[in-house]
């Protein structure tokens, strides 16, 4: 882990949607330690600022892939960078998904919007070692068909169960319409032997976790990736505090039995 941003070069970029870009960063000298699925880096857009961004694919040779949605000054600055630009990177940070605890289990990967980014390396890891796990279910929700990430990869995630649903159909969309939790009816899993990995807007994660628990999954086996503002990423500044947790260090992945009392969104 490094506390000083290491210079990286943006080697390629791909526009995923109107407001989201995936880019690859290559270290200019000696890369950062290996990133596990669900861990994040602090990306520094020079002259603008620094934000936490999950790795959405790792290559093993120090190159990092990130998907960023432009929501404010820094994320927009990163999305606008051309190939060849410099980015400062710190990391790896955070605990990442606990995939080891899910060995032998049916897996439910539930993503909403940009939440698919930190889940993609987890799907990669499972697909690289399919015999180690039970049935893989990938459930993806997005606002509109135009907001879907990684479209070219979605078909490969359909077996044994994978489905995509949108809140607002448009442009001749013939797929599913509705919230991502509705897809759980069709997912293939034995609740007593399943682990879920959930990332998306907090209300969506709460709704998904609650529904999974209703269906018999132990709350401790529903892992959520939580977001709070972060600054130091090293457990010193307190910006990311959630109850007794400093999410930059103790998270971002928190099991639902721990997260539930801390998430105080009012009942819908």
């Amino acid at each position: 882990m490094t506390l000083v941003p290491l210079p990286h070069r943006l080697t390629s970029r791909h526009r995923e949607t109107a407001d989201t870009v995936t880019f690859e960063l290559e270290p200019l000298s000696g890369g950062l330690g290996p990133f596990a699925p669900g861990q994040y880096a602090m990306l520094y857009a020079f002259g603008i600022g620094e934000i936490p961004v999950s790795v959405c694919r790792t290559s093993g040779d120090g190159r990092l892939t990130h998907t960023v949605r432009a929501v404010g000054a820094v994320s927009r600055g990163l999305c606008d960078l051309p190939a060849g630009a410099s980015v400062g990177v710190r990391g790896p940070f955070g605990n990442g998904w606990n995939l080891r605890a899910a060995r032998g289990h049916d897996l439910l990967v539930v993503a909403g919007g940009i939440g698919l980014a930190p889940l993609r390396p987890l799907i990669d890891a499972v697909l690289a070692e399919p015999a180690a796990y039970g049935r893989l279910n990938v459930l993806v929700g997005a606002r509109t068909p135009g907001d879907l990430l990684y479209r070219a990869e979605l078909p490969a995630w359909r077996r044994p169960f994978g489905a995509v649903t949108v809140d607002r159909p448009a442009g001749g969309w013939t797929g599913r319409v509705g919230v991502v939790t509705a897809l759980l009816d069709e997912a293939l899993f034995a609740p007593e032997n399943a682990t879920a990995f959930v990332c998306g807007p907090e209300v969506m994660m709460r709704a998904t976790a609650r529904e999974l628990v209703d269906r018999g999954l132990p709350a401790g086996r529903v892992q959520l990736s939580l977001e709070r503002n972060m600054r130091c990423a090293t457990g010193h500044c307190g910006h990311c505090q959630l109850g007794p947790l400093l999410l930059c260090r103790d998270g971002p992945v928190v099991p639902y039995d721990q997260a539930e009392p801390l998430l105080t969104v009012r009942e819908l």
Binding site: D19, A70, G72, G112, G175, V177, L184, E186, A187
Partner: protein, 157 residues
């Protein structure tokens, strides 16, 4: 001839006890519709309902000048139609198959009569239908929040 679709292990059918499932399925007619079949229209008499065995059904609402807009899809194990349960027994939406759909079709009056005559079967069934309605209501409220949309204060792309 393709094999009949399996009994879904999820949704309303999967949640019923084996005895109640058998009792409900004794009232079912198996139907097999090609894609783009209209099952019912907004404002029509809600005298039937379906449980999907395979395929997807789209619920839609007619927008003047724009035709039907899909508001939700229902897949394997899902219940299509609940207006049959409560007066005035009129469909609030239209429904169309998105793919080939194999389903169990039920006559609403017959199911209501069996529920009334056998409350030990009727109550769990109606409770499960109410659960389904509650889940859809929560889902609709969640969608109203437009969770994936731009956050307040965020610049437009």
């Amino acid at each position: 001839m393709s094999r009949p679709a399996p009994v879904p292990s999820t949704g309303l059918i999967g949640s019923l006890s084996p005895g109640h499932r058998e009792r409900l399925l004794a009232l079912a007619h198996e139907v097999d519709h090609p894609a783009s079949t209209r099952l019912f229209e907004e404002g029509g008499r809600a005298d039937r309902f379906w449980i999907v065995r395979t395929g997807t059904v789209a619920l839609d609402i007619h927008l003047p000048g724009r035709g039907p807009a899909v508001v939700e899809t229902i897949g394997t194990g899902g219940l299509v139609g609940w207006s049959w349960l409560c007066p005035p027994h009129e469909w609030h939406l239209g429904a169309e198959t998105r793919s080939r759909v194999e389903a169990w079709q039920f006559d609403a009056a017959e199911v209501r009569a069996v529920c009334a005559a056998h409350p030990e079967f009727g109550l769990p069934l109606v409770t499960l239908v109410a659960e389904t309605i509650g889940r859809r209501l929560r889902a609709t409220r969640t969608r109203l929040l437009d969770l994936y949309g731009p956050q307040p204060g965020a610049p437009s792309p």
